[in-house]
Symmetry: C2
Subunit: 406 residues, 2 copies
């Protein structure tokens, strides 16, 4: 995997963002990310064999489906080649990567473009919430919160508070927010890059208010509403050679998994993300490694509580101890397991269909020393990284294990 690119994550918080002014559309983001990747292989677009584009809800946000048809718009060299949209709610980007991996394994592609895109600031938040609710079961939503997804994770947070202690948990969630913003401040494409708040933990501890939002989470517990695209190439050994990519500029995909949980079924235990746990276990097994060999993780923190439950799903902390693990700084950039080193969904942003690909780009940057001010040191004894991309409430999960070359 090589030649990653992220557009800016555009939305509230970015100085370029004005809610009332015209903004770039889907076409712009697809084009920007695609052209950047082709520039990264010396304009040899003809070397790209296939393309997969992850997108969740352009049908509603942009009145546009059939996004595979925009791939040949990037570069005439892509005309006539296979291009396909894949969708699994907020795991759509991860599914684009999983599809690109299958393509390379199948031998149908040596050089495969995996892209994700979402342009969701076209709707006001409450209508946007309605659109995003389609990630869950529509029949269930009829009796759910107006803010359906925040409601689902608010329920998870409430269950966790009840079982393990409210103040204890909220300290962990507040630290998660602080880490996210501090990491985002190191990454120029991050939506929270220019966040200047001094006491982040105090802000994050603002009392949730169910009258205006949901019962157990506040807006700082939520990921951002973002426009953006990310793209990267998945390549065979032959593809790397064809493109003239140096091994030190690429990372190896060492293992991966893709899991689906029944969208119509309630989670057995609200304090456990069982599909995420299964996906991580399968991905590590597929790579033949344990979490002890992993240097950094990009995890799907659509909400702070999803970050904490993810830490437990990875086995970094026992059930109920994830909040303390985070509160103690273990997941900060100088902690034992740096997580979401460019801010994750809360700090970098969450252009839903692009997020899985953004995670892969961040991992690629970290393992090839291209992360700029956000760069962490990769311990040579731990040459692996992990990404976890989740769609819906722990329904579709794609987990990928990456290995640093050399």
């Amino acid at each position: 995997m090589a030649v990653g690119y992220n557009t800016i994550s555009m939305g509230t918080g970015r100085p370029e963002f004005h809610p009332a002014k015209p903004r770039p559309g889907l076409e712009h983001y697809i084009s920007e990310a695609g052209k950047a990747v082709i520039a990264g292989i010396n304009q040899q677009g003809d070397l790209i064999d296939e393309a997969f584009i992850g997108n969740f809800q352009a049908s509603l946000f942009n009145k546009q489906a059939h996004l595979g048809g925009f791939i040949p718009m990037i570069d005439p060299a892509l005309a006539g080649k296979p291009a396909m949209r894949v969708e699994g709610a907020c795991a759509s980007g991860g599914l684009a990567l999983a599809s690109a991996i299958r393509s390379v394994l199948a031998g149908t592609g040596d050089v495969v473009l995996a892209m994700g895109v979402e342009v969701q600031n076209t709707l006001k938040a409450i209508y946007g919430a309605d659109v995003l609710a389609a990630a869950g079961w529509y029949q269930k939503r009829k009796s759910g919160h107006a803010y359906f997804f925040p409601g689902q994770f608010s329920n998870r947070a409430g269950a966790y508070y009840e079982r393990f202690g409210r103040d204890y948990t909220r300290k962990g969630l507040a630290r998660w927010f602080k880490n996210a913003i501090e990491n985002a401040r190191l990454c120029p494409t991050a939506q929270e890059f220019e966040n200047k708040v001094v006491d982040l933990e105090a802000l994050a501890l603002t009392e949730p208010n169910g009258k205006f939002f949901v019962d157990h989470l506040n807006v700082y517990d939520c990921s951002k509403v973002s426009d953006g695209a990310s793209a990267i190439l998945v390549l065979s050994e032959e593809g790397l050679k064809k493109c003239g990519i140096n091994p030190e500029d690429a990372v190896e995909i060492a293992g991966w998994s893709q899991v689906a949980r029944d969208i119509t079924a309630d989670p057995e235990d609200l304090t456990v993300m069982s599909a995420t746990r299964l996906a991580v276990a399968k991905a590590l097994k597929s790579a033949g490694i344990s979490m002890n060999q992993v240097s950094t993780v990009e995890t799907h923190d659509c909400f702070t509580i999803a970050g904490v439950l993810g830490v437990e799903a990875m086995g970094l902390a026992a059930h109920g101890q994830g909040a303390a693990f985070v509160a103690d700084g273990a997941t900060a950039r100088d902690g034992v397991m740096p997580i979401n080193t460019t801010g994750g969904l809360i700090g970098w942003g969450h252009p839903t269909g692009a997020t899985g690909v953004h995670q892969a780009v961040t991992v690629w940057e970290q393992l090839t020393g291209k992360a700029g001010a956000a760069q962490i040191i990769i311990n040579p004894d731990k040459p692996y990284a992990l990404s976890i991309n989740m769609g819906g409430d722990d329904v579709t999960v794609v987990a990928i294990v990456y290995k640093k070359n050399h």
Copy 2:
């Protein structure tokens, strides 16, 4: 490929269909088709490794995205396995098949479920037309017909009339309609199964009226608005053995192609479907055969004119001679190349995201002698069949070549 299943294509024309009464939803169709396939392998759902589900616009028709999450609902044995929605407008079903083929080639699956589903009678025709318009470029649509897609193909028909003669062409289109309905009358799941019209060609020659619909096509030139699902298994040799499927009950996938044309670009020549032509050529090349070895074709007749242009794209008739080829009966079930032997999109129905899979199921039935009253005789010297599934106006095309076993 084996164990195919089609639900009824539900919509106007079916006696079970009442516009005002509650009808089965997405969940029902996914479940019916999925359970039927699992029943076909003696309830061994655990043997299915991966699943791909093609769907175009459930986001708008049913306020539901993330259809991969419904796969584990079919059977608990599917929980935790990879399941993904793929989308390329009306080629979504073909993309599910292409994905399943990649999965088998990649070795990630020996037994892979390819399904397609659409439930589109939830909206009135004019609103439905708006939803389906997302298959084309939204920016282009602003200046297009209210019935956007019929408008696009009306333009193609108009250009063909002008170049090759109006009466000449409309005779071919009328015969296309007649063949479609006659074939549908032989297939109990077809939407036009109970069509009793005596003079089909006369009906099809009704003058188009641009005041009420579009300039160059009438409603008989259009495919049906349908609810339905289709499913089939794509298997490796090992998968066939595991499932205990006899070779004579399976067909070989001998070749395939997937093509994308720039959705933002107008066709160079309205009387040519260039992406379809390219896809057919690539699929035949991939199978190492010519059209002379093909016994039957399932082609994407979203409109009668697409049927005629498809005939030319396959090289069955020269440019401008497709209408005569059809009018002469060459594509009828007793013609030199029987096309759409269960009625195609105009006769059987067009549950958009399911259509590509429905085509594969029909081919599988014909090549394994399971097509009932619709069965044609397969010439032993021509053991191949071809399917062509198109998304948008000749934008995404999946072509598959199948071979009869023995």
